[in-house]
Structures are given as C-alpha cells and as structure tokens.
Symmetry: C2
Subunit: 360 residues, 2 copies
C-alpha cells in the first residue's frame, strides 16, 4: 500500500519538473489527504530536489503522525505560525519558483510580499491532472461509497409518504450510511418536496411532505475519504400529473443520451452541448439551469466540470456524475443523477436505483 503514496508523490515530482517549478506547497486538505493519507489541515511541501515534508499545528500533530503514509516526515508548527512561516526559512533553490494549490487572497499577498510576485505560481491544475484519473484503490473506495448511497436511496424511497418530514428522511438516511460503514454523508442531504423541488440546492428548514408532491432526493456517502453522488425524483401519490410525467421522461432521456455519449476523448463541453441541444429542441433550454455533471473523488465536486465551458477531455478512469434537471419555478423540479466510472468503451454506472416516479 505504501507504494500508492510514493507513486503519487513521485508523479507530482515529475510534474514539478515539467512545469519548471522548484517546489509545490500543498494547502488544500483534500490534496494533503491524496498525497499523505492524513485527513486534516496543514501544509505539504514537495520540493523538486529533496524529501516532502508535512507541517501541521500542535492540535493535529498526533493525528498526522498516526495517519500519514509513505514515510513522509511530519513537522510540528508553532500554534501561531502562518503559511509564510513554513516558507521563510527554506533555501533559495526551494522557493525560487514555488507552486501553490490553493491560497486565499490575504495569504497570497503576504506570501508574495515575502517571495516576490514572480516566484509564486498557481499550480492547482498540476494536482488535478493527477487526481482526475483515479487509481485502483480510489475506484474501490468510490464503488463502496456508491453502494452505500444506493442502499440509502432505497431507504429514502421507502420513507416517502404523506405526513413525513423532509428532515426525518435525512436523519434516517445518514444513520443508514453509518450502519453501512460510511465515514458520513458527502454533503448535506437534499430532500426537497413540493415547490421546494424547483430549487436545485434545496431550501432551508424542513417541510412535511404531502400527497401530490414531487420530491427530489440528492445524497452521497463518504467511504474511506471518497465520495459518491446520486439523485432521484419521486412523486407521492397514485397518478402523477401529465406535466410531471412529461418532464421526468425528458430528463431521463437526456440522461441516457449523455451516458451513451461518454467515451474517452470526448470534450466535456461537447457532452453538455448535446444534452442542452436536446432539451432546447423540446422547448426547455432555459429550464436546464446548471452544469451536466462533475468529477467525484475525495471531494464531491472535482474537475472535470461537464458544462458549457468544460475544457477537459473525458479520460479512462475518471469518475464523473451525469445529472440533467429541469426546474419549473414555483411548481416542481426533476433531476436524475448517477456516479459513473469511465471505461475504455463507455461508462460503468456505480450507483443504482430504479428510474421511477413512484417510490419503490
């Protein structure tokens, strides 16, 4: 297993060299986890020449030493240290062209005052180049996270009936995820009923579901640090109105079209355009108000962004979502989503649940 971590660091070093950097300073928790196995805040410095070192605050020192992999050295910062304190004592050759993955503007300004504007280079894309393509152990964890999400969706579906609170479903779903071995939920579970279903991000508070409601359920689990993401839309009651049936069929058709079109070397914006054009032809161009999908891994939203401006090529061993939706303000919304693994000739669906308006 130690080979996985060493391999990731060594591929990062290749990219550091290719991009003519002297080192990369990794500040995002997700990136630190990817390269070290430790899930917490800190700074990971990976120099072109020399050994990587993880810097953490006293508060996290024991956890870092316990969970770090690949033999990476851990150094304890003082409680009052800031990012510039990690950098200031380093030899000139390490900080002469320093890449960074993510900094806020204020940290950036202090660091660039220390280093000169020219020696500080945005380098998050280098790390994404690695993280976008999942290795075997990552795919296994995502598969487990997807299995858990699928079972949690079964439970959510069972619970949908007149008189139940949205929040009751959320609580039961989280409990089920824990029971199935999840670290937790990948994001705040969305159970959006009635006209609240027309807001893609859901709405604050909770509501009692009623017969005649459309209900959007969007959930994901985390397993060993890796996420899954899926959405189903249901109707509470016997006879869904024509309009609901029609929109549901359109969204499902758009989703099938997208999934059939995913192949290695497809441009992500071309995928989006295909679905957009189909929905536009049906008269709903302006009601498809978000991207078509996104990468999934350590974070719930990762590159590639599958949208109008998506610049990435789809590649084998990417894990992505496809999630078209149509939203009629004040009335209802329909979204369907699965997590998919890109294989040589197409996709393998990792989440599973029926596509039926009636809770199953």
């Amino acid at each position: 297993m130690s080979g996985v971590w060493k391999n990731r660091i060594s591929r990062l070093m290749d990219l550091i060299q290719e991009n003519e950097l002297s080192a990369v300073l990794i500040c995002s928790k997700a990136n630190i986890f990817y390269f070290t196995g430790y899930r917490g805040p800190g700074y990971l410095l990976v120099p072109l020449n020399g050994e990587p070192k993880l810097y953490v605050y006293p508060l996290d020192f024991e956890a870092a030493k316990t969970y770090v992999r690949g033999g990476i050295e851990v150094e304890e910062l003082s409680m009052t240290a800031r990012v510039e304190n990690v950098i200031e004592g380093l030899p000139e050759e390490v900080k002469s062209r320093l890449g960074f993955d993510s900094l806020n503007a204020e940290d950036y300004l202090r660091l660039s005052a220390l280093l000169s504007h020219e020696s500080l280079k945005p380098a998050s894309e280098i790390v994404w180049k690695l993280r976008m393509i999942k290795d075997r152990s990552e795919i296994e964890n995502i598969e487990r996270a997807c299995d858990i999400a699928s079972k949690a969706m079964d439970l959510a579906s069972e619970m949908l009936e007149d008189g139940v609170m949205e929040s009751e479903v959320k609580a039961e779903v989280l409990e089920e995820m824990f029971k199935l071995g999840a670290d937790g939920a990948a994001f705040d579970i969305i159970v959006a009923s009635g006209s609240r279903s027309s807001m893609p991000h859901g709405a604050p508070g909770s509501r009692v579901m009623r017969e005649g409601d459309v209900v959007v359920v969007d959930l994901g689990a985390v397993f060993e640090g890796y996420c899954s993401d899926m959405t189903r839309t249901f109707y509470i009651g016997e006879n869904p109105p024509e309009e609901v049936l029609k929109i549901y069929e359109m969204v499902l058709e758009a989703k099938n079209l997208a999934e059939e079109s995913v192949k290695p070397w497809t441009l992500s914006s071309a995928l989006y355009d295909k679905v957009y054009d189909r929905l536009a032809a049906m008269g709903y161009a302006d009601r498809f108000i978000h991207g078509l999908g996104h990468g999934v891994g350590i974070e719930i939203h990762e590159p590639p962004k599958i949208s109008k401006i998506g610049k990435e090529m789809i590649q084998e061993n990417m894990v992505i979502t496809i999630e078209p939706g149509i939203y009629l303000p004040g009335k209802f919304g329909v979204r369907l989503e699965d997590t998919l693994l890109v294989e040589k000739d197409g996709v393998r669906k990792l989440t599973s649940a029926p596509y039926t308006l009636t809770p199953y």
Copy 2:
C-alpha cells in the same frame, strides 16, 4: 423584520465611507446571508453611493428571489460568469477603491488585472466588525441552537456504553437535532473514544466504545442559520482512573477561571494567557495544544479568536466559546466547552449539561 436587514446594510455603508472605499464586494456565503437573508452562493455588491445588488447564478435565482430580505435587488448571472464579470461593467466611481471580503488567490489575480492592484482592498475586517456583535434576532437564534445542542448532549450521554459504535451516537444526535427543529448539525459531530479522544479533531471512521474509555463528544446545532458549539468528556465505567479524574478537574478549573474572567474590554489573548499560565503551573503547558475559544454565529468558527495571538477586545453581545482541553497522546484527552453570551458584567452560559465524567 425588514428593518434588521436595512440596518445591517446601512451600517456597512457607514464603514465603507469611514474606510474610504467606493464599494464592497461580498463573496462569502455567510456574509451574504448576514446582509440579505439568502443562504447560497453569489456576490453582493454594496456601493457607497447607490443600491446594493445581489448577483446569483441561474441555478440559485429562484431561491435568492424567494429568501432575500430588505428589498435587495437580485440579478441573474450567466451560467459561465466569473467574479470579474460582476465588476467589469460597473462605473469607475464604484470600482475605484473596491473592498472585498474573501477571494481565492486565482480570482484575486484576475480581478486585480482588471482593476489595478491599488484599487482592490481586503475588507473582511469591516464585515467582522459588524458580525462579531450579535443583535437581538441573532442572539435568539443562537439561544435556540444552544438549547437544541444541550438536549442532543443529554441524548449522547445516555447512549454511551460498552458495545455502542461512535457513529451510532452521531446518527442519533443528528436525528434529535432535526426533531427539535434544527436545520442540521453545525459541523461533523465528534464522538472520539479511547485513545482517539487524544486527537482534538477526532479520528476518521468509527469505533466500538468499551468500558474504560474516555469519550469526547463535541457537537453543535444550526437553527435558522445560526450555530451552537459544546463539548463534554465522559468515562465509560464505574471507577475512572486517578489520572483521568485529575485531568478532568484541571480542565474544569481552567474553564471556570476563563469564564469568570470574561468581561467586556478584556483582551482575548489575555484570557488565553490566564488559562495557559494556570495549566502551565500544573505542569501541562505543552498539552494544551489549541486556542481557548472562538466566536460563534452564522459560522461555527468566527472572530474573535481567543488565543495567544487574539487581538480583539471582548465586547458586550459577542457570542463565544470557552473550550480548554488537555490531551495525552496515545492515552486520552479531556475537553469541556460551552457557548456563552457576553453581557455587561460577565457571561451568560447558553449551552448546559452537567460537568461529570459519568454519563448522566
């Protein structure tokens, strides 16, 4: 109620003038919620001369129009817009000295290319000046969030026994919070048992609790967008070892000392120093490895930071936590925490639960 929102915006405008800015661009979700009542992503532009305007993506347009308060105008961005597209068309007088609350380095660099380095000013402290002091409606929401957390702690305490999984407690606690009307949990609930209790942030995964375990439970609820935060430490079994008893008493004494010392016009670092010195005198200086506390409000961690480098004066109507802890690596940790309202002559505790090692 509309007066609350107008008042917040008008106080921000006063600060814009005082700081000789032409406008402030608010990008943080929490700040947008504070000024508009809408809980979602977007950009809020508040010019010195003119009306504030909220810019959101198509995805969030309906939610923004539904939840925005104070009569603020909402404008729909294109799906592919970035922060610079909000700014580029504005008149020179609005963007000549533009404050911003939070930007990542890449957005900052693109904006400053558009505006010139001199016209872009970090201004998050202006907003914190307002948010640090809670108004009546905020205090009422935090009180409700604290009541919910206290009841959730009662439930957690009841559940602690040999054979129970940490994750079972987390799931039940969240369900209880929802039942009591919470929007959800304020952060990932920590139930850290055995030697895992010596890691202040907890540890990944879940563990079956056993007799003889020390268990740290750290939880908080969100009510109407406002957070609470509290921690208790328990021992599973009849006779806690001497060392556990001793550390528990020391942490409790440190906490009482801190709470008695909180008064308006106390410097936050002086509070930290007082507790640090007491624990140092007892021989545990190096085992108190985090700050003493923090502000609580829309976010779970807000200014003032009550630490060695805390520069804020404590003020009436701040809401803060006090949370000393001692951690013995590989053995156990003890932390005790409450959420407190600062009043004229001292503090009022908003969270409540017994201070007892034995689950109650």
